[in-house]
């Protein structure tokens, strides 16, 4: 597994990736697959991730890569990984690097973050040099060793990588500052020579962890590299080190060099060309001065960037003619399976969906309720009832219906602590349980015996009216056939002489505002019959709500069959569930406020009648 000193990456290089950057990791694995090597990322470090691993594609196959909390732990499990790809943010990247430099198995660290303070960058640099380790960056896309190892996003899309022959080694060593022109240079080199042997973007900061010369000295020793291309920039003096090395013979291979930013001489210091680092502080730092120095040192320097390709071609062909450059057999490239998301976007694949949604949509700029953006719901003053209309029934309710639903929610919101739902909520809350558990125990009691009368009343009154039973017939039918009391009829205290005020309000509202109250009228006829038997057998609040909801839906244009479907689906019950949840939450919060201890039911309230089973 050991590789020569001058190589930072080979086909067996394994790396630890700091930060769960799924796109960059997947791009590396795609590259690994294309060049036919094993996955280059062996571990991910992400201290804030709770997951133990993540899945990635290697070709069509899925693989699992473990996630660690610290670089140290990852390095302990993967001592063969000598590269750390530090994708931490500018706030964290320094600490991550300093820690990793102390790990003996890690030799090379690439840092992508932009905006690392210069003092930090210098400290990392000094420490790395002292330890004989390598830092690439900060503020760089990284680099690539074609056919062996790709740092994260270097080279762009797989298509571009293949077009620029970055999937197999060529004979040119490339160093640039910016990542932005790295692809362009790879492209030029693939078209005018035989592609890269290795390419490094040292990063745009003033104090890169390793500079042009550091890498070019490696290229000098690397027999695969036959010529080098240096793309420098206005600002800084790093290019002079290369000129010196050419002069004093530390670099003997042909170097083609160009510093961008020659424009600046025409506009003085007045115009900032390129990024801030690219500013000449002195005459020595201008692109022209550096191009001149490189030319004088013996590098091939074109007259302009536009002549760069020709110059590269010239040097390459000369070396080729001398027989110094071996022929390359172009490898076969396995197709990279297209990503489903991308193929879908481009209309290349389709698949049947598993779910359908017809009430809301969160895909656009803003989520919508039945097509209405939430901001519009607020701006146009929609009530809670209007929102219920949109999300439950996909309707913009007319005002009379909205107001009615609003009344219903208010009326059913609570009925004191003694009813089964509220009681359960209180007992659960007192057992120290959370909001969700407590109110759920309340909601779970809602059914045929508690709160179910709305559903029942709607169902039976509607059925009777449809079958044109007269009120007497209906009362008998319920007694003899269904054998249950009529849902929605009867009250503990209220009676015909002492009417329930809530019922009066609902009835009056409906009479005055509903287009028709057919079923209410029928129910009131039934009430006449039942109250003639017993004073308190009145149409109660549940019954009133049940029949009025039927009247409401009829007026909104629902057919009787559609209304039956709503009832069977639980839509009527839903008004009770929603309304009463308000009360349950109230009881829960009340318990928390009071901080009452665990509730234990008293013995004297239970009839104990326990016998041994018969033997």
């Amino acid at each position: 597994m050991s590789k020569p000193e001058y190589l930072l990456f080979d086909k067996d290089t394994k790396a630890i990736f700091w930060n769960l950057n799924r796109n960059a990791i997947q791009r590396m694995l795609d590259y690994d697959y294309v060049v036919g090597r094993s996955p280059s990322i062996v571990a991910i470090v992400a201290p804030t991730q709770s997951r133990k691993f993540d899945k990635f594609f290697y070709g069509t196959k899925e693989i699992m890569i473990p996630i660690y909390k610290s670089t140290e732990d990852a390095a302990k499990d993967f001592p063969e990984a000598d590269v750390l790809l530090n994708f931490a943010s500018f706030r964290t990247a320094y600490n991550v690097t300093m820690e990793a430099l102390d790990i003996p198995t890690i030799r090379t660290i690439a840092i992508t973050a932009e905006g690392i303070p210069e003092r930090f960058a210098r400290t990392m640099r000094v420490k790395a040099k002292k330890l004989g380790k390598w830092i690439i960056g900060p503020a760089t896309v990284g680099g690539i060793a074609p056919g062996a190892f790709r740092i994260a996003n270097t080279g762009g899309t797989i298509q571009n990588i293949i077009n620029s022959k970055l999937h197999r080694p060529g004979s040119v060593g490339l160093v640039t500052r910016s990542g932005g022109l790295f692809n362009e240079l790879s492209n030029i080199i693939s078209r005018n020579a035989n592609g890269l042997a290795e390419g490094i973007a040292i990063g745009g900061d003033r104090f890169p962890g390793s500079d042009f010369l550091d890498h070019m000295l490696r290229f000098e020793k690397n027999p695969q590299v036959k010529m080098m291309v240096l793309l420098g920039e206005v600002g800084g003096e790093l290019e002079y080190r290369v000129a010196e090395a050419i002069k004093d013979g530390r670099i003997t291979k042909p170097v083609i060099a160009w510093c961008i930013g020659t424009i600046s001489k025409h506009f003085g210091g007045e115009v900032q060309f390129g990024h801030a680092g690219a500013k000449a502080g002195a005459e020595r730092e201008t692109a022209d001065a550096k191009n001149k120095a490189l030319r004088e040192a013996g590098a091939y320097v074109p007259k302009s960037f536009n002549d760069l390709p020709e110059l590269i071609r010239g040097v390459y062909e000369e070396l080729h003619a001398k027989g110094e450059i071996p022929e390359i057999k172009e490898p076969e490239v396995p197709p990279i399976p297209e990503d489903y998301a991308k193929a879908l976007k481009e209309g290349k694949v389709r698949k049947p969906t598993n779910f359908i949604c017809t009430i809301s949509d969160d895909r656009g700029e803003e989520a919508t309720y039945c097509g209405v953006p939430i901001s519009e719901v607020v701006e146009k003053g929609y009530s809670i009832a209007d929102v219920i209309g949109l999300l439950w029934f996909k309707k913009k309710f007319p005002e009379w219906a909205s107001n009615f639903i609003d009344m219903v929610i208010k009326v059913v919101a609570d009925h004191g602590p003694a009813v089964s739902g509220a009681h359960n909520t209180k007992v659960t809350a007192r057992a120290g349980k959370d909001l969700m558990s407590s109110i759920v125990t309340g909601i779970l009691t809602i059914g045929p015996r508690f709160g179910g009368a709305i559903d029942g009343a709607a169902k039976y009154f509607k059925m009777a009216q449809e079958k044109e039973m007269d009120p007497y017939e209906f009362v008998d039918y319920m007694k003899n056939v269904e054998k249950i009391p009529i849902p929605g009829i009867g009250h503990r205290i209220k009676s015909i002489k002492n009417p329930d005020k809530r019922v009066e309000l609902l009835k009056n509202y409906a009479k005055n505002n509903f287009p028709s109250t057919d079923l209410l009228d029928y129910a009131l006829e039934v009430e006449k019959v039942t109250t003639s038997k017993k004073e308190n057998l009145i149409l109660n609040v549940d019954g009133t709500i049940g029949v009025l909801l039927v009247d409401m839906f009829r007026a909104l244009g629902y057919s009787d069959k559609e209304i039956d479907e709503l009832i069977n689906a639980g839509a009527f019950n839903a008004f009770f569930v929603l309304g009463r949840t308000i009360g349950f939450i109230g009881h829960y919060l009340d318990e928390k406020r009071l901080d009452m201890p665990l509730y234990r039911h008293p013995f004297d309230d239970i009839l104990y009648d326990v016998k041994r089973p018969e033997e």
């Binding site: 500018f90 706030r91 905006g115 690392i116 303070p117 210069e118 003092r119 210098r122 400290t123 640099r125 000094v126 420490k127 040099k129 896309v141 996003n153 762009g156 899309t157 298509q159 571009n160 077009n163 620029s164 910016s178 990542g179 932005g180 022109l181 692809n183 362009e184 492209n187 030029i188 078209r191 900061d205 003033r206 104090f207 920039e233 206005v234 961008i260 930013g261 020659t262 424009i263 025409h266 506009f267 003085g268 210091g269 007045e270 115009v271 900032q272 060309f273 390129g274 990024h275 801030a276 680092g277 690219a278 692109a287 007259k303 302009s304 960037f305 536009n306 760069l308 390709p309």
Partner: protein
């Protein structure tokens, strides 16, 4: 952005705010500085700073440029040094703000001034200290001869290098062993420099110069202060910096178009830059990417057409379609205001390198939107368009822009990565020369 100059006022304020922590009671600094800006109500100054009424004053522009003494921009005397009163300062500042001033060949307006008490002192009390960052070391410059002639006396400046990882003891030793011989109280001076260096390091200064530094007993008067901070260290040292700004410095006033793009850039996550070089020029550029934009400008100049280069700028970092459209419209607006004096068509270079992951088709849609809006004007003024771009979806992008331009009757040539990036500059110039011949 990294190293950025700060105002003298902010530099001194940083010193004052951190004085106790770094200088304790060993040294005393009475921070008395006022920053005057165009928004300052000069009439309120005597109320807020009563000392201006009974103290002789000094006033100077505070806009990052140096050599203010030599430029005659320090007000410290009328008849003799130390006789400047607040009324004089007020009049002087008003006058300077109103008139155009030329600094190092750039014309513009002075907007920010520093007002301080005049400090009478003897020349032998004027010291010099400066600190800067080298590669693996920091460099401290110390001299017993401060003042405006420090450059003439540079041979008397002692330069010491502090390794970036040096311990406090090492730093102390290096400084105290190298204090220039001409300094009277060496121990005190060394102690002050050591403390100042600690502040320099902790607060991520990239450059710091006090010249002259007047020391009277343990009283410190930093008569002039130049500072540069590493602005990327905001997250480390921002609290110690306090509320400071990084001004653009004295320069040509921005044109409304440049200002508009600058504001858009500040609001956006993408990068949008525009500088007008010559509004009468024939060659206009719309280039994606910072590096590429420099290369295109270089090439226009290298091919001898720098006088016709109308603008410099770039868009990158995945701007939205709307942002791209607004950016391009601003350029189109400028280039269609008048025909070129020669009557020849203008040349539009839509360039860029091979994008990594930016969707080329998407960004081109923004350009096409703007093209449609300005088609009439572009035709009227005469235009030839040359496009070169690579990257994801470049084929679709090139096809769309070609089709759109042709439908609008705008002559266009499009090229992909098979053509060298700057070749379109050469083609454009060649086509133009051919036409003449």
């Amino acid at each position: 952005m990294a190293q950025r100059g700060i105002r003298e006022y902010d530099g001194k304020k940083i010193l004052a705010n951190n004085w106790k922590e770094y200088f304790g009671d060993e040294f005393i600094y009475d921070f008395k500085s006022i920053l005057i800006t165009p928004e300052t109500d000069l009439e309120e100054i005597p109320q807020n700073y009563p000392w201006v009424s009974d103290t002789p004053l000094v006033a100077k522009p505070d806009m990052l440029f140096g050599k203010r003494g030599k430029l005659g921009l320090i007000l410290f005397k009328k008849e003799k040094p130390g006789d400047v009163k607040w009324e004089d300062v007020k009049e002087w500042i008003k006058q300077k703000m109103a008139e155009e001033t030329e600094i190092n060949g750039v014309k513009g307006h002075l907007t920010h001034f520093l007002v301080e008490p005049f400090v009478p002192h003897k020349p032998e009390e004027e010291y010099y200290v400066a600190m800067t960052t080298g590669e693996d070391e920091d460099i401290i410059y110390m001299s017993a001869f401060g003042g405006i002639d420090v450059e003439e006396n540079w041979d008397k400046v002692v330069e010491v290098r502090i390794p970036i990882t040096a311990s406090d003891e090492e730093i102390k030793k290096i400084i105290s062993e190298n204090v220039p011989a001409d300094i009277k109280d060496k121990e005190k001076y060394a102690d002050f420099v050591y403390r100042l260096y600690k502040l320099f390091r902790d607060l991520h200064f990239a450059y710091l110069e006090i010249n002259p530094l007047v020391m009277v007993g343990n009283k410190i008067y930093p008569l002039d202060f130049v500072g540069k901070l590493d602005d990327t260290a905001q997250f480390v040292a921002g609290r110690k910096w306090g509320d400071i700004e990084f001004p653009a410095g004295f320069g040509r006033d921005l044109t409304p178009e440049e200002k508009y793009i600058k504001e858009m850039d500040e609001k956006s996550g993408a990068s949008l830059k525009l500088t007008i070089l010559n509004p009468e020029g024939r060659i206009w550029t719309l280039v994606a990417g910072g590096g590429a934009s420099v290369v295109y400008a270089d090439t226009v100049a290298d091919l001898g057409w720098v006088k016709e280069l109308a603008n410099y700028g770039e868009y990158s970092g995945n701007p939205s379609r709307t942002e791209t459209r607004e950016y391009v419209k601003t350029v189109f607006d400028l280039m269609t205001r008048q025909k070129h004096s020669s009557g020849k068509p203008k040349i539009l270079i839509i360039g860029g390198a091979i994008a990594n992951f930016t969707d080329v088709a998407k960004t081109f849609d923004g350009i096409i939107d703007a093209m449609k809006e300005y088609a009439d004007k572009l035709r009227e003024v005469g235009i030839r368009i040359y496009v070169r771009r690579g990257g994801p979806n470049y084929e679709i992008g090139l096809k769309r822009i070609k089709q759109a331009a042709e439908e609008l009757g705008l002559p266009i040539e499009v090229y992909g990565p098979e053509t060298h990036m700057t070749e379109i500059v050469k083609k454009a110039i060649d086509d133009d020369t051919k036409e003449v011949a």
